[in-house]
Assembly symmetry: C2
Homo-oligomer: 212 residues x 2
């Protein structure tokens, strides 16, 4: 598969995980081949949009016959880097950190959680989902020794900026940030911010604009 | 403010909470007026996109002078229904439910958490963030007696469909679903699905496509 030279738009990137999820569901139902029309109905995206999206990545096979679901999963999985076995750590072992550590769909997607860190000595040494909680001070040596790819931050707002700087310095490749604060890190380290209240606000908008 | 007749596109709806957040940050920094150009730089959206987005809702004031930040916050807050004091319950008091119950940015946005429910009798009766955990069986009467607007579901996949049906029957207005499963509810009840692994997949894509 070759990437086209065209820059892939943000909205298309955001749709890739959705395609991946839907296609996995199809395969679970033993559906082996699907047309862009059928996929379009399931996903609430137009068929031409789907074809356009896929064209950014070379098209993924013959339209007339529909798409081979398994092939599509492999291709999109490769594009998303899911077959690279990326190594993750969670920093912050509070309720959210614990919830994420127990979130098995992460593991199903090929990500490997290899460490959890906290600065609370009462928690350090305990285990969450079979993984030992280590001390904050061990982060740098751990990230370097284990070539950690992704850090998931579930820290208070006041602590997150220093932590992001420490992680960038020791070579982290990407950050998933649950703290309600935009990080100021170099462009070479991508950050995804999870804004839980944005989703609540979107829902609120939909409720308000419901015809009833 | 009058809504234009044009249907507001999905991407614009998704940007509204981001506008809201950025504008609140500006006001916190005591910035009272901002041009679409300045807002555009901060938000990584083009200035013409911002003007287009705002035009769906009547435009929000004179371009030449820039936007009045406080006015914009009020208007967008109204559009998002943030001034309606929507009442929420959390169903599922596991780690994720607890994390959300302690998530103060929800409350800052005008949402009111008024109940937490679980089916584990060891938890029922305890308190999280000052709110008593009630039994699953009390959901219907509570929702009806208190006109609950939003239910936040942090349940196992196997339990979420039955619960969604129960909630629809007793008149819930919207659902924020953290369970990894699409809900089959009537269109009149909007659902926002929070797919944590989608965000991880997007991050993985960005790492993989990083020029380095």
């Amino acid at each position: 598969m070759e990437l086209n030279d065209k820059k892939v738009p943000e909205v298309v990137i955001k749709r890739l995980p959705r395609y991946y999820r839907y296609l996995r569901e199809l395969l679970n139902q033993d559906i082996r081949r699907i047309s862009s029309n059928a996929l379009s109905k399931k996903m609430n995206v137009t068929a031409s949009q789907i074809r356009q999206d896929f064209n950014y990545f070379g098209g993924f096979g013959q339209q007339g016959y529909g798409y081979n679901v398994e092939h599509l999963i492999t291709e999109i999985g490769n594009i998303l880097g899911l077959n690279d076995g990326e190594k993750m750590i969670i920093i912050g072992a509070g309720n959210l950190g614990r919830a994420l550590a127990n979130h098995n769909s992460f593991i199903k997607r090929g990500f490997k959680l290899i460490g959890i860190f906290d600065n609370d000595n009462r928690i350090v040494g305990s285990s969450i989902n079979g993984i030992r909680v280590m001390s904050d001070s061990e982060i740098e040596s751990f990230v370097q020794a284990n070539n950690v790819d992704i850090a998931i931050l579930t820290l208070p707002r006041s602590a997150v900026h220093d932590m992001a700087n420490r992680l960038v310095k020791c070579g982290i490749r990407g950050i998933l940030n649950f703290s309600y604060s935009e990080l100021d890190v170099p462009e070479s380290v991508p950050v995804e911010n999870v804004h839980l209240s944005d989703m609540l606000m979107t829902l609120s908008y939909r409720i308000k604009n419901q015809k009833d």
